[in-house]
């Protein structure tokens, strides 16, 4: 009996150890950002994204507390014209990779964005169920806080989430890879609105 238990606990230990080292990824030089330098370069950004990065304008995402690597990579995509945002075109043209990393560090250091609006229980429950079937937490992590190039989506602006998921489904936008296009393939508008509502109204 004692022998059996030891084996089982060893398995549990091994599982958790492997899960920890599974988080290890690429090694070697990765660009780092400086939030103080970023504050200086982000003066144009806060005009739309807000002084505290909360995203006060409809259709403009909150950035405060967003994953550093996500913001930096997205800024590169926007600068290269691979993500077309008419209101931002030309704004990043003169910025070097290090500048974009500094802006990323500036926003990711802010207090994370909080939910707004009231929760509709039926929609929330529908979104919760979908999130489970679709496995959102697998990449976006527990609490939907994101990791590395996977964005924090918890409590993001609801209309922005919906607009983004629709863009992924309709192949109008890709991330740094096409994971979201694959996940959203054939998803209905109704499902998207439920997901957006659920994610935007977490406590």
């Amino acid at each position: 009996m004692k022998q059996c238990l030891t084996t089982r606990w060893t398995i549990i230990q091994r599982v958790f150890f492997l899960l920890i080292i599974a988080a290890a990824g690429p090694a070697g030089a990765q660009i780092k950002g400086n939030p103080e330098r970023g504050a200086d370069k982000a003066k144009t950004c806060i005009a739309c994204h807000g002084q505290t990065g909360r995203g006060p304008m409809s259709g403009v995402p909150a950035l405060s507390g967003q994953q550093f690597e996500f913001i930096t990579l997205q800024l590169i995509l926007i600068r290269e014209g691979l993500r077309e945002i008419p209101d931002m075109s030309g704004m990043l043209k003169e910025l070097k990779d290090q500048d974009l990393a500094d802006i990323g560090a500036f926003f990711s250091a802010m207090e994370p964005f909080s939910p707004r609006g009231t929760r509709n229980d039926r929609r929330f429950a529908a979104g919760a169920k979908l999130s489970e079937i679709m496995g959102c937490g697998s990449c976006h992590m527990k609490g939907y806080v994101g990791q590395r190039q996977v964005p924090r989506i918890i409590n993001q602006r609801e209309e922005y989430l919906a607009k983004t998921l629709i863009a992924y489904r309709d192949n109008k936008r890709s991330g740094v890879d096409t994971s979201m296009n694959a996940v959203m393939y054939k998803t209905t508008d109704e499902d998207i609105y439920a997901l957006a509502h659920y994610l935007a109204h977490q406590n």
Binding site: M1, C4, I31, A128, V183, K186
Partner: protein, 425 residues
């Protein structure tokens, strides 16, 4: 400790272990929602016909795709001395400073054109005033992975867009405007698994894939999960292989002229589910079915999309290449530089895994087999891009290409560099 407790632990852990995945006993998403009612069987079935379906056995917050590096890696930061090759072979950095470097094609006078994905560029690497330089010849494209030189023209495929740059090698300092052939090819616009690998066939046709727009789902076999060929002007489309989830590398056997291709197996089916494949299209089975989504690897049925006799009439692989290793670019070696055992062998790149806890791939393999695809033998060719003990990687080999002198070029998307592997003095 009681017998009951040990049985409880056994019952919760054994399914996870049997599934071959180091999955947590409780799906993470369930833990997040105190009040959610579990999905019904009907809701799950409905979801399976779409793209995003995560089986309950596979909720794992530590598996996510690898972030790309979109910035330049300085030469001194490329750990080329960590690369290992067989005795007698030598590795050098041939080009660097080209972030996202992936698929390669070569022009008559030596210029090499390099496709990318996320960063949206196509580079030229060429000799100028006795030095090797690189420049961007196209940018702002949507995953321009497919590049092909033919008759002095560079073809670029970016998802469903196709461009032809005529007489490009003579005009590298002043790149001409391309001919837009997008309407001629009229390709599906889906983004996932739709970045192209281009090859020129012995039948003078252009070959490329249209992958499945999801991880695993029902697809229209007339549209998705294929390798196709066209006349060079976009006419005469023919499907040469079906049930191909995502092939990003193929070549033609030097003797039989048959098409051989790598294929990436599905994700979210556990640590060993399911192998990437090396396949061959027999001359009398052009258009045949290679399994997706119902049948994988050496005849294993899909656990989520179930049909009767899932592997009936499926052409099975020449060999399997490990689960989640991301087998991509491949070529048959036909040069005179390498030892005899390399003649007509395949060299293929494994880009490296993300959908398993213990990383694997991140190397170049040699595969020897008979011309009709029997007796396959795999030998590692280039390793050292990952470190097993820390479970980290620094390089991601993506494509292989032979130079006229018989040496091989290997692209590394992570380092934004190309290595040259030579043999002998």
């Amino acid at each position: 400790m009681s017998k009951l407790l040990s049985q409880l632990i056994a019952r919760s852990l054994m399914p996870a272990l049997v599934a071959g995945a180091f999955a947590l006993p409780v799906p993470i998403a369930l833990a997040q929602q105190a009040n959610a009612t579990p999905p019904t069987a009907a809701e799950i079935e409905r979801r399976k016909s779409m793209g995003g379906y995560m089986p309950e056995r596979m909720q794992n917050p530590n598996l996510t795709s690898n972030p790309p590096r979109l910035t330049v890696t300085p030469l001194e930061d490329i750990p080329v001395n960590k690369i290992q090759v067989p005795a007698g072979f030598k590795v050098e950095v041939w080009a660097h400073g080209i972030p996202g470097a992936r698929m390669m094609t070569r022009a008559a006078n030596g210029a090499v054109f390099v496709g990318t994905r996320t960063i949206g560029r196509v580079y030229a690497v060429y000799e100028k005033d006795g030095k090797r330089v690189s420049k961007i010849v196209a940018q702002k494209l949507n995953q321009p992975n497919g590049v092909l030189m033919h008759n002095g023209s560079l073809y670029i495929a970016a998802i469903n867009r196709v461009f032809r740059y005529d007489n490009i090698e003579a005009n590298l300092e002043n790149i001409p405007e391309p001919v837009d052939m997008t309407k001629d090819f009229n390709l599906p616009p889906d983004v996932h698994h739709n970045w192209k690998f281009l090859a020129y066939g012995p039948d003078k046709k252009m070959y490329f894939q249209v992958g499945a727009p999801c991880n695993v789902c029902e697809i229209n076999p007339g549209v998705h999960g294929q390798i196709r060929r066209y006349n060079m002007d976009g006419t005469g489309m023919e499907i040469v292989a079906r049930g191909v989830r995502n092939s990003v590398g193929f070549d033609f056997h030097p003797q039989t002229k048959e098409l051989w291709f790598t294929d990436n197996g599905r994700d979210w089916a556990g640590e060993t589910g399911f192998d990437d494949e090396l396949n061959r299209v027999p001359a009398d089975k052009v258009g045949g079915h290679f399994g997706f989504p119902y049948c994988h690897a050496n005849g294993q049925p899909d656990p989520d999309i179930k049909v009767p006799n899932p592997c009936a009439n499926v052409i099975l692989p020449v060999t399997v290449l490990g689960a989640h290793t991301a087998a991509l670019g491949m070529r048959f070696y036909t040069g005179k530089m390498y030892p005899p055992e390399y003649q007509n062998a395949i060299l293929l790149a494994r880009h490296g895994s993300w959908n398993k806890t213990e990383r694997s791939g991140y190397d170049i393999l040699r595969v020897n087999a008979t011309p009709d695809g029997k007796d396959a033998k795999i030998t590692p060719f280039m390793t050292g891009f990952m470190d097993k003990s820390s479970n980290t990687y620094w390089g991601r080999p993506t494509d292989v290409m032979q130079l006229p002198d018989g040496s091989m070029l290997i692209s590394d998307e992570q380092q934004g560099a190309i290595y040259r592997v030579s043999y002998g003095k």
